[in-house]
């Protein structure tokens, strides 16, 4: 069980850092500072972070920034990146046009 209030207290308040405006997720233009602030607002899991900030939800689907985001979240939470569960991978494995997906032999497929 994770008590959010206790964990927020344990990690201390958000403090600005000189490189907070560095872009981490380039597709969705999310900065390091935004990720750090999200953790201090209670977004502790990769699932919450990506829903809150859209990190890893753009063109590359997190292939570029996934590890970086994880590292930043882990540092704020004062744990090892190995302790942070990755967000769920989603089908399709690469972006696929609707007209291709639609051609699967289903009822209205012509």
């Amino acid at each position: 069980m994770v008590d959010v209030q206790e964990k927020l207290k344990a990690i201390g308040p958000y403090r600005e850092e000189p490189d907070d405006d560095m872009l981490i997720c380039r597709c969705e233009e999310v900065t390091k500072g935004e990720i750090r602030q999200a953790v201090h607002a209670g977004m502790f899991t990769m699932e919450e972070i990506r829903r809150y900030l859209r990190t890893g939800m753009g063109l590359c689907q997190g292939q570029t920034c996934g590890k970086l985001v994880k590292g930043i979240v882990a540092r704020e939470l004062k744990v090892s990146p190995l302790d942070i569960e990755p967000a769920t991978s989603r089908v399709p494995m690469r972006p696929t046009e609707m007209k291709i997906l639609a051609r699967d032999g289903g009822a209205c497929d012509e």
Binding site: E48, R90, L101, R103, G106
Partner: protein, 379 residues
């Protein structure tokens, strides 16, 4: 764990649970614990739905509070919570391609009109004026100009964030085993790891699992499950801000603030899914069926790339509307479950009313038709 007691315990960190926690705190009751079974807040249907904020086509038992949320809560929610929840109130078109479709839409529209909602059936030309990107096969649609959509993930997390700021204690990865009465009143929430939380009032807003929990104190609610899937495309040029659905019910969705299109759909085979509740795997069939339906109504999207698909369990109620109710046999328990796939748009009103019920106040809207004991034998 520091303190195991609270004035109110809420089981379920979904949008309804988070909203109830926020409205309790706003009323000054900050001694609230929210128990979420998963590691992430909003892990269930709250983050997996299509984001519709819809009044049209609602049952007369829930339309009043759906309208209450649209009239009094959604327009100012982003400002109130300090997070932009991407609410758009630009209307909902439900599209028809056949005379049979139009007949169904006319029925829906006249039903909603009778209940005081501005909804009508419009012809093909008017549909084109509202949304020029639709197929020429569309011969008409129902139109509700006050419907809209919002971002369900942000809405859920915004309630969570604001409630946390106000002092509510959220506990994640907190799996409840059972509820227990003491001296005739619900008092204890017993966790799977044996720990025990106690409160005067317990709100159960745990989706389908609410059924298991309420059964541990002798109350059974006729719920069943349904697995629904959704997909999202890459960012597209801005096309429209309305919410779309079809008379056929083969898909629904909208273009998000981000530019991507979010659509929910099904394959027709969902009734036979036998996955365990903790599995959330998408089928290899549904996205394809959805794409066919979508292209059939919005041909321009044929070249749009799908980047993700996902699915979620819906807590279906036997008669299609939720149970939002105190329980006479179990004083101290408040149930909020069975939202049947359309609980997101009403969540602000439901959260507020759950807070009111917990504080023994009169609810903003009469919801006595949603009582837990309304189910009677039909033979």
């Amino acid at each position: 764990m520091s303190k195991m007691t609270a004035d109110v315990i809420i089981i379920g960190g979904g949008v309804n649970g988070c909203a109830a926690a926020y409205y309790l705190a706003k009323k000054g009751v900050c001694d609230v614990i929210v128990l979420e079974a998963d590691k992430s807040i909003g892990h269930g249907g709250s983050s997996r739905n299509g984001g519709g904020v819809r009044q049209s086509g609602r049952d007369m038992r829930e339309l009043p509070y759906a309208m209450y949320a649209v009239n009094n809560m959604w327009p100012t929610l982003s400002e109130e919570l300090g997070v932009d929840v991407e609410y758009y109130q630009r209307g909902n078109l439900r599209l028809g391609k056949t005379e049979k479709h139009l007949k169904k839409l006319e029925g829906l529209a006249s039903g909603s009109r009778a209940l005081g909602l501005d909804m009508k059936v419009v012809d093909a030309q008017t549909v084109k004026e509202i949304c020029p990107y639709l197929s020429d096969e569309v011969i008409g649609a129902s139109w509700c100009p006050t419907d809209g959509h919002a971002n369900p993930m942000l809405t859920t997390l915004a309630y969570y964030k604001r409630a946390t700021e106000l002092g509510v204690r959220f506990i994640t990865d907190a799996k409840v085993e059972k509820l227990e009465k003491q001296r005739g009143r619900l008092r204890r929430v017993i966790m799977k790891n044996g720990e025990i939380f106690e409160a005067e009032t317990v709100i159960v807003a745990a989706g389908y699992e609410s059924r298991y929990l309420s059964r541990t104190v002798g109350v059974d609610i006729p719920l069943y499950t349904y697995f629904e899937e959704a997909l999202v495309t890459e960012m597209q040029p801005h096309m429209f801000d309305i919410m779309l659905g079809t008379a056929d019910g083969d898909f629904y969705g909208h273009q998000s603030r981000h530019g991507s299109f979010v659509f929910g759909s099904d394959s027709g085979l969902e009734g036979d899914i036998d996955m365990p509740l903790d599995e959330l795997k998408t089928s290899s069939l549904t996205a394809s069926a959805g794409c066919r339906a979508i292209i059939g109504y919005i041909p321009l999207l044929a070249d749009a790339k799908v980047v993700r698909t996902w699915g979620g369990w819906i807590d279906m109620c036997h008669d299609g509307v939720p149970v939002i109710s105190k329980v006479e046999e179990v004083p101290g328990m408040i149930l909020a479950c069975g939202f049947t796939g359309h609980g997101f748009g009403t969540a602000p009103a439901v959260g507020l009313m759950l807070a009111q019920m917990a504080l023994e106040e009169e609810t903003s809207v009469d919801i006595s038709a949603l009582r837990y004991d309304r189910f009677k034998p039909v033979r």
